[in-house]
């Protein structure tokens, strides 16, 4: 064989590829099995959520957030509601906070179950898929019981939640949560002692702590590298400051540590739900000042008493502008990382600008760094380990 005539081969992976978890396209320049360059192309699922919301009222924008990360729509809804509540200065009743926390953690378990199912399937462990889907089905039934929908729930409202949970739901959820830690051990016995799994994940796709911070990673992907950052602990929302839980962190920053972090999060989520059920208070589920479904298009009444400003430039008529455009940023810990909503309000009932800071978008950006110099087979393992959802990535 004449080696002088060898050249780099360009492989187009995706957008229709079963292991890229959606419509992600990677252009890989390979030399043999080794990747020289990796260029991700995204945007195949772009629906213009940010632009659409500028034409809808705050209440009407809520269902749009379902369609971002469709595996954990509850958390997206909560994130949006928290941002709008912060803007309008609405205090959520305690019972609603606990209900939201319970359902957010259910969504986290659901989302992680899909992750472990598909990630293991990609690497070659088929059985876990069936086990994880069995448990997810139970959770989706519970979601349907409360919200009437399985995936796109639109359950929270600005100022609370749409409807109350009942005794039957709590009993069934308790049953599930009591059994769940055993189930997690079941998955771990399927994977953790599997030599193929360990070879494919340990020491592969390493991100150091400094790099992870510089790349803006969040959630379990960041914590796998040993950085302690969790929005639930740093900037508590809902009932997270009233329950006791730990944030698992890894050490080596490889695929195995990211996997381990998520497996430990299963147990913490179960713990949070258990405490929330015990502490669930009685009372209202929707704040009185919460906006109606048919939100009037007349100007909002926003309490601007706590606004402070100081202007250092002269001869500019800027004071009215500063008073008119108020903005807030609120973020929640979605299963994938920090999901932030930045809302600019111009006193009308429609957001002047709604920006979604999507963790999957940031995580997809780190793929070239993870893949370059690695083997083709590891690309699949890497995509699985950063856990991206393209609906959220492309918005």
């Amino acid at each position: 064989m004449n080696l002088e005539n060898t050249k780099e081969l360009i492989i187009n992976m995706g957008p229709q590829h079963p292991a890229t978890h959606g419509v992600l396209r990677l252009v890989l320049e390979v030399e043999g099995e080794v990747i020289k360059r990796c260029i991700p192309y995204i945007g195949y699922l772009h629906r213009g959520v940010e632009k659409l919301s500028e034409d809808l009222t705050y209440v009407q924008s809520l269902p749009l957030t379902d369609r971002l990360d469709y595996l954990s729509s509850m958390v997206n809804n909560v994130g949006f509601c928290i941002a709008v509540e912060k803007l309008m200065g609405i205090e959520v009743p305690l019972r609603a906070k606990f209900i939201r926390t319970i359902l957010s953690e259910m969504a986290r378990i659901c989302s992680h179950l899909v992750w472990i199912a598909t990630h293991a399937l990609d690497i070659g462990a088929m059985t876990v898929f069936l086990y994880a889907m069995r448990d997810r089905e139970k959770l989706l039934e519970l979601f349907e019981m409360v919200t009437g929908a399985r995936l796109t729930v639109s359950y929270p409202r600005v100022g609370g939640v749409r409807c109350d949970i009942n005794e039957e739901f709590i009993n069934e959820l308790s049953d599930f949560i009591n059994k769940f830690p055993e189930r997690v051990e079941e998955y771990e016995t399927l994977i953790d002692k599997n030599r193929v799994w360990l070879k494919r994940t340990k020491g592969v796709g390493v991100i150091t702590a400094e790099e992870a911070i510089n790349w803006g990673l969040t959630g379990p992907t960041l914590r796998g590298s040993g950085v302690y950052y969790d929005v639930r602990k740093f900037f508590p929302y809902d009932a997270y400051d009233m329950v006791d839980f730990e944030v698992p962190i890894g050490k080596n920053g490889d695929i195995y540590d990211r996997y381990k972090c998520r497996m430990l999060e299963f147990r913490q989520s179960a713990r949070i739900i258990k405490q929330c059920i015990e502490k669930l208070p009685e009372g209202a589920i929707l704040a009185e000042e919460s906006p109606k479904i048919r939100m009037p298009s007349s100007p909002l009444k926003i309490d601007k008493n706590d606004i402070q400003f100081e202007i250092y430039v002269e001869d500019r008529n800027i004071e009215d502008f500063i008073k008119k455009f108020t903005d807030v940023y609120a973020s929640v810990e979605a299963p994938r990382g920090e999901l932030g909503f930045y809302i600019v309000c111009d006193d009308s009932a429609k957001p002047y600008r709604m920006r979604v800071r999507a963790p999957s978008f940031v995580h997809a950006g780190v793929l070239p760094k993870l893949c370059e110099g690695a083997l083709i087979a590891d690309v699949i393992a890497n995509i699985g380990s950063i856990d991206i959802v393209l609906g959220e990535c492309d918005r």
């Binding site: 911070i213 250092y312 903005d327």
Partner: protein, 177 residues
């Protein structure tokens, strides 16, 4: 650190560059001139008691018709060590719509700036690879600008089924109210 203290330190270090600050719901934002955005962000990142090592978000807002210069490029910074956040805004005019890139300070800014260019047409000088990211390469216009319409009137070219659906929906709405 208290947000107002951060603003004070910033003001002491860059007296000429800070235009105004505002605190609302315990969040501080500082508006700066765009020429020194890199120096200010580097100062915030490297000063020992501030240490904003984390760029959470980078985006832009279009204030067409309300203010001149038209755009704001918005940086959300956070410090993992000190657990504080701040928002820095840099004014960008429509003419000469450009600002220095921070992609070499934070790698995460790479894609954020590409998205910002894609949606607003703001040019980031010094960016390694400024291309459209979410939209196709041959797209016309910048969708998140305020003069880009949400609905466009296609007239007869509109898909027939969609037009029927819209009329039906209008009928329900009238019945309800």
């Amino acid at each position: 650190m208290n947000p107002t203290e951060i603003v004070k330190r910033l003001k002491d270090s860059f007296p000429e560059e800070i235009l105004w600050y505002r605190c609302f719901r315990n969040e501080c934002d500082v508006t700066v001139k765009k020429e020194k955005n890199r120096e200010i962000l580097l100062y915030l990142k490297n000063t020992p008691s501030l240490e904003f090592d984390y760029l959470i978000d980078l985006t832009a807002v279009d204030y067409l018709g309300f203010r001149e210069p038209r755009f704001d490029v918005v940086y959300h910074l956070m410090s993992i060590k000190h657990r504080h956040r701040i928002r820095i805004k840099a004014e960008v005019p429509e003419q000469g719509c450009c600002i220095s890139s921070v992609a070499d300070i934070w790698k995460t800014a790479d894609w954020f700036e590409r998205e910002c260019f894609d949606m607003f047409g703001i040019i980031f000088k010094g960016h390694p690879d400024l291309r459209r990211i979410l939209l196709p390469e041959d797209w016309n216009g910048f969708p998140l600008r305020k003069d880009y319409p949400v609905h466009s009137d296609l007239g007869d070219k509109e898909w027939k089924t969609y037009r029927e659906l819209k009329e039906a929906a209008r009928g329900w709405k009238d019945n309800e109210s």
